[in-house]
Symmetry: C2
Subunit: 484 residues, 2 copies
């Protein structure tokens, strides 16, 4: 048995390529959201590993029969849930090369091309985003943890480790929960994870004035402010915190300011969206997920830090078995010292293939197409008086619901609005023709319609609206408008 | 432009399969360790992303011309450095499916098959390793951070958060540096990361007696012991800490005991190696990296925890936008609450394909073959009186050097031994025919010869020995033995 026999590799590789090409050809025939019931797979697969080898043909048949019914098809053109995970052929091919070479790039020495290609690609992105400084890779949670750790170590060096429990970090009530989780993991006292409240009147932005007031009070009561998380494109509503003014407030207190643009960061490669990042040069770090909207397969998050030595100072290790002449020469970067984990896949290869295969203009075209499709959807919703748009649309997400007044004409209390919209979403998703998700902000339940799947076209958006509209009609007693 | 056009996907996918099959066919023609100089790629690639799309053919040509010279060929049969990163066709195909489906499995709802297949595969591994309890995924550093965080939160719930700076964690001077780094990240006072010294007389094992003494003293001086890291297969020498006795000591103090078997864990699916894990049922958690020695591509680490609620209690989040009926029914597992990050690739798919495609017996066959090749290498080294084996060989790694006495016959002082062996390693690696790495323990520099690359056969081991032997001969003034 040779598990890397080139003949078998070639034969089986071609087979799986055909399997996946067929999958993309037929993807619209599957229910978008898996209809599987809890336990479906646990009940159908054997409870121990086979003793003897099985053929790839057998396994692929089982993927078709057992696995695919349990998959929610994130690549389906009818996927409008969460934020999309936009795959592409170039990124897929990049992953094939990453896995084919299967190198571990923890330092320069262990595979020089992995480190240098990452430096190149990060420089390319830096120019596309007009960012002021330097770069690395991870996931958003990793980015939070690395920068929180760097900020904490840097301040404890000054004020002494015995003050660790006084450290306070700041975010808004719209910040992604990963920030709070990360702060807890690095040992910030949960009471000192401070949330500034936002409100509808300011489109749920983090207010620099309220932040400043909170920090001042906290300092008076003995806390030491250390870190602020600013969001460009919040998870629930894709709202935007004012980066510049918030950086100004925080830098007056010598705080680390991180800008989390996980979803919306990709849009900022288009000049017309770049203004959302204005002031980012005042921040300490910035991250976005290429795996959300830059046609890059899971996972790929890009993190910039203004002062890379703050990171490497707190994350460097110096183990004998990794010592080498290249590192000692000081001429190379060792990315293991920019991140939590030691192992590193050759992620830069797929991002490089995406950037080359589609070009900056091709990527901008995809972003603009998705934003325009979201605009179209917004127009359809706005034209139907039974619905309301919850917040302005900046990117490719529309937040909407059936308005309480309309529901009030059919049901008893205003309280029913949330329940009604939840039922509406569930019944639309249950058709299997489309998948959207929801959120609740300020007590208001609404449906999030996110355009971002690579294969989505006009007709999918129109079909989604028709389904929503028809379903609302069947649930409401009001006069029926024509749904397209 | 359709970045997931099935026709283009099929055509380009077949092209890359052929490219990689050719790569495996010719892999022995490349120098194992890249001969690239710092800056080689930075100088040859453009400094900004292309504006317009480029063809995949062009990009693949550039991979061949620019990238491959900068790759250290971890899949080469002549790769004996670090610990191997053993890829396989089945795992590669699994990665193709993972990337083709490109789902995000943070909770059950988001793609039920991802969660349930992970439960199934973890159960399969649990049975192969005869482990007592339940399971999940990550990387070793993530495993450290999650379990350290869980252990810390659990004890602070009892003793109060104001005692955080008293917490102490334990390891040996042979524990991987990632443990110390992880402990710092979760905010353990660096002074309280306590290292028990090991010695040659006990094969560099962590001594339960010394550990107990250290803990007792620490408690007297006001520290609170919370966590012990035990290693099965240390990085420098693949030595083994006594799992059972160390668990007994630690559990007397209610400490969390983690068993890190990153490299050697895979071997324990063979009954003849399982005894190294004896006593693991007394530990709190256990992890190993399938991406090291279980024919699984980067990255794939398996973590078992005895009390999963300790993890989920400290890592759970409850965000509105992820709420769903499946979670609320209590019938499903949401793996986002077992790990640091939110995003999850469908990693179980590749492990499942590996286990099915090779079967438990096929995997055992690979382990035994590698161990036997290491035994052969050890015999060759032992038969040459100029060399010495540094520590016993338990798995597939041989630690050796040219002995100081022999070097002393040619050079002035005993001090030269480390320098001589370093030069020997560098000159052997510089041939490009083989790649090994080194470590230093107790002041002794030695060469680590790790068998683990999937393609390695007898002839590669023999060739490596001949190179080492010939090179030593040319560097020594002693009578020349015949190198095979």
């Amino acid at each position: 048995m040779n598990p890397l026999d080139p003949v078998e590799f070639r034969r089986n590789g071609h087979m799986v390529i055909d399997f996946l090409a067929d999958y993309y050809q037929n993807i619209q025939n599957y229910p978008v959201k898996s209809q599987a019931k809890p336990g479906f797979l646990l009940e159908s697969l054997p409870d121990c590993a086979p003793l003897h080898p099985e053929s790839i043909e057998t396994i692929i048949n089982d993927v078709q029969r057992d696995i695919i019914p349990g998959i929610t098809h994130w690549q389906s053109p009818n996927f409008f849930a969460y934020f999309a995970s936009s795959g592409s052929t170039a990124s897929f091919l990049g992953e094939m090369l990453i896995n084919g070479f299967n190198v571990v790039g923890f330092n320069w020495e262990s595979s020089p091309a992995a480190t240098e290609l990452e430096m190149i690609v990060m420089e390319w992105l830096l120019k596309l985003l007009q960012l002021p400084n330097c770069v690395l890779h991870g996931t958003t949670c990793e980015a939070f943890i690395c920068t929180l750790h760097a900020a904490r170590e840097s301040i404890l060096d000054h004020i002494g480790r015995e003050n660790a429990r006084k450290l306070a970090v700041y975010c808004s009530d719209q910040t992604h929960f990963s920030f709070q989780k990360s702060a807890k993991i690095v040992g910030i006292n949960p009471k000192n994870i401070r949330q500034v409240s936002t409100s509808r009147s300011s489109n749920f932005k983090l207010s620099p004035r309220l932040l400043d007031e909170m920090i001042k009070k906290d300092i008076e009561s003995g806390l030491v402010p250390v870190y602020l998380c600013v969001t460009v494109g919040t998870t629930s509503m894709a709202m935007v915190d004012p980066v510049g003014p918030l950086s100004d407030v925080s830098s007056a207190y010598n705080m680390w300011v991180h800008v989390d643009a996980a979803y919306a960061g990709t849009a900022c490669i288009c000049p017309e969206f770049r203004h959302f990042l204005n002031g980012v040069e005042g921040a300490s770090s910035f991250s976005f997920n290429a795996h959300k909207w830059m046609l890059t397969n899971q996972s790929c998050c890009c993190l910039w830090v203004k002062d890379k030595s703050a990171l490497t100072k707190s994350l460097s290790t110096n183990s004998e078995y990794l010592k080498n002449q290249a590192t000692e020469s000081g001429q190379v970067v060792d990315y293991k010292d920019w991140q939590i984990v030691l192992s590193r896949r050759f992620q830069a290869l797929k991002l490089w293939m995406v950037l080359r295969s589609y070009g900056a203009n091709g990527l901008r075209e995809v972003i603009r197409k998705h934003v325009n499709l979201a605009k179209d959807f917004q127009m359809l919703v706005s034209a139907d008086k039974r619905f309301e748009i919850i917040v302005p649309r900046y990117f490719s997400m529309v937040c909407f619901r059936v308005s309480p007044e309309v529901i009030g004409q059919c049901y008893d209390t205003e309280h029913e609005a949330n329940e009604f919209n939840q039922k509406l979403l569930q019944s639309v998703n249950a058709t299997g023709c489309v998948y959207m998700t929801h959120s609740i902000v300020g007590g208001v339940y609404f449906i999030r319609f996110v355009v971002g799947a690579t294969l989505t076209e006009d007709r999918h958006v129109i079909m989604a609206w028709k389904l929503i509209c028809d379903q609302a009609t069947s649930m409401l007693c009001t006069p029926t408008p024509k749904c397209i």
